[in-house]
């Protein structure tokens, strides 16, 4: 079990993969009762995390301001014609 890993630190793909694994185990019915409760809780946290990542997505478009030495000095909104 990877309960030690903080769910919020997982990437969407990692979280989704783990969630799928948990669902598959629960559906097989091979998980002991105590564990099934704890992995359900973890699965629920993973689901919320995935959901959050998907819902938090926002279309933000910026343009890099280039400094004199060619590095990125900052950002500004992209002027979209």
């Amino acid at each position: 079990m990877t309960t030690a890993t903080d769910v919020s630190a997982l990437s969407f793909e990692q979280a989704l993969k783990e969630l799928e694994g948990i669902v598959a185990r629960l559906e097989q019915g091979s998980v002991p009762l105590e564990e099934s409760i704890s992995i359900y809780e973890r699965g629920d946290a993973l689901r919320k995390h995935c959901d959050g990542l998907l819902k938090a997505a926002e279309a933000k478009v910026e343009k890099i301001r280039i400094a004199g030495d060619g590095s990125a000095a900052g950002v500004e909104p992209l002027d979209r014609e």
Partner: protein, 477 residues
């Protein structure tokens, strides 16, 4: 005399040569000459390169000084069709002229293609295009960096497609996608995104798209630039190239982790479709809840079934109780039985333990003793009889040979005073007392005064010195 027609000024060879040199350099101080490179003799040890430019009708010597050679965008190659930019000059020492080249570029698509192949081979040999270098694209990037022109259809297409699929944070690094500075700007953009620190003020992209619309080989030439290829290969951030149309290939496509056929295609590659993901997460969430509820239900059902099958406590105890009762009842009986059994065994043993057995043994021993003693008596008597018979035999022999029988025939035995038999007359001193034995007794006497005369000793019969008497025969037993 002077020739009246020859009033023209006289030149020295040097004067005319240098005059010519000035005219040529003035007149042709900046020219572009198109021709094929011929007789290319690499960089000389001096670092300069010498060759000729030629076409169907003419041939012109050319030189590229060392300092210029290093800056050329195209390396001159034998047979390459080029456009050389430079000035003409002469070489007064040997009445020759040449072009001193400042810049060189391939003339026409064929030349560019040849150059592209050469560069591809060289960079490929360095391993920059190795499949092992390719990185996987992140599944769901939070920030997408796009190196492209900030204006035009390309960035618009990318942003539209991203918005359709999955709205993300997009950072555009503005570059010229055509012209001299294109290559260096694109390379700087890729390196610049990579230089952004994780968690810094400007978010570091999780994936980079390098994009440009379609164009001619020359238009796209900047994306074949060596610095672009190296920057793409060195990028730690996964990089998608989307330069030109699907049929256009540039070297950045080979160095990128993934090549997209179009800028729109690149947008599709870097983000999944949010709606699909949300559906999938929702579905997983439903299954998660359902499965855990079912897990509890299943166990409850099993618990009920198991509880039903569980027998009552009294039932469980009944059988052992019965066994206990039976055993408890049997206990005193068993004790008696056991005692009886031992008593019986004791009696069996004591019955056999009687004086009769002892007496019987004694009688047997006595009988055996009498038999043995009878046998012993007989044996002894026999032994005695045998000894007796032998004695008789010996006695009769003895009687036949001993001196008593001789004496009875009239002989006498003379003994000295010690009682020893005297066998020779010489053995007796005069006057010695002797004893004469006859068969019926002994008489004492004395040897006369004369010394006894010895008869011939030889004629005397030999006699044993001692003769065993009857008393020396030893015990019969």
């Amino acid at each position: 005399m002077t020739d009246p027609t020859s009033n023209a000024a006289e030149y020295t060879v040097s004067e005319i040569s240098f005059a010519l040199k000035r005219s040529i350099e003035d007149q042709f101080g900046f020219v572009r000459v198109r021709g094929e490179i011929s007789g290319y003799r690499g960089p000389h040890s001096s670092g300069h390169a010498y060759f000729a430019l030629k076409d169907e009708g003419a041939r012109m010597e050319a030189v590229v000084w060392r300092g210029v050679l290093g800056k050329l965008r195209f390396k001159p190659e034998e047979g390459m069709e080029v456009i050389a930019t430079g000035k003409l000059t002469t070489y007064p020492n040997s009445s020759k002229y040449q072009i001193v080249i400042d810049a060189l570029e391939p003339a026409g698509a064929g030349a560019l293609m040849a150059l592209l192949e050469e560069r591809k081979r060289k960079l490929g040999a360095e391993g920059l295009f190795d499949p092992g270098r390719k990185q996987l694209l992140p599944y769901l990037p939070r920030v997408v960096g796009v190196v492209t022109s900030p204006t035009g259809a390309v960035i618009r297409d990318i942003l539209h497609r991203l918005a359709d699929r999955f709205p993300v944070h997009v950072l555009v690094w503005p570059v010229k996608v055509q012209g001299e500075s294109c290559g260096s700007e694109v390379a700087a953009g890729i390196a610049g995104f990579n230089a952004l620190p994780e968690g810094g003020r400007i978010p570091r992209p999780d994936v980079i798209i390098v994009a440009r619309g379609g164009g001619s080989l020359e238009d796209l030439w900047g994306f074949n630039d060596e610095v672009v290829v190296r920057a793409a290969a060195a990028s730690d951030i996964p990089l998608v190239s989307a330069v030109g149309h699907e049929t256009d290939w540039t070297l950045i496509d080979l160095a990128a982790d993934v090549r997209a056929p179009t800028p729109t295609g690149a947008a599709e590659m870097v983000v999944p479709v949010r709606r699909e993901l949300m559906d999938r997460v929702d579905d997983l969430g439903r299954r998660l809840t359902g499965a855990s509820l079912r897990a509890v239900d299943l166990r409850r059902t099993r618990l009920i079934a198991a509880a039903r099958a569980l027998p009552r406590a009294s039932d469980i105890l009944a059988l052992p109780r019965q066994r206990f009762d039976a055993a408890a009842n049997a206990l005193p009986k068993a004790l008696t039985a056991n005692t009886t059994l031992h008593a019986r065994q004791f009696e069996r043993v004591t019955a056999r333990l009687t004086p009769a057995s002892l007496l019987r043994t004694q009688a047997q021993l006595a009988e055996r003793l009498s038999v043995l003693s009878a046998r012993g008596g007989r044996a002894v008597a026999e032994l005695i009889a045998r000894r007796r018979a032998r004695l008789d035999q010996v006695t009769s022999v003895f009687d036949a040979v001993n001196h008593m029988a001789t004496l009875r025939r009239g002989y006498a035995l003379v003994r000295d005073d010690e009682g020893k038999p005297v066998f020779r007359a010489g053995g007796l001193a005069a006057g010695a007392s002797i004893e004469i034995e006859f068969a019926d007794g002994r008489v004492r006497g004395r040897v006369g005064d004369e010394a006894p005369t010895a008869i011939e000793a030889k004629s005397l019969p030999r006699r044993p010195k001692t003769k065993p008497g009857p008393e020396d025969q030893g015990n019969l037993f």
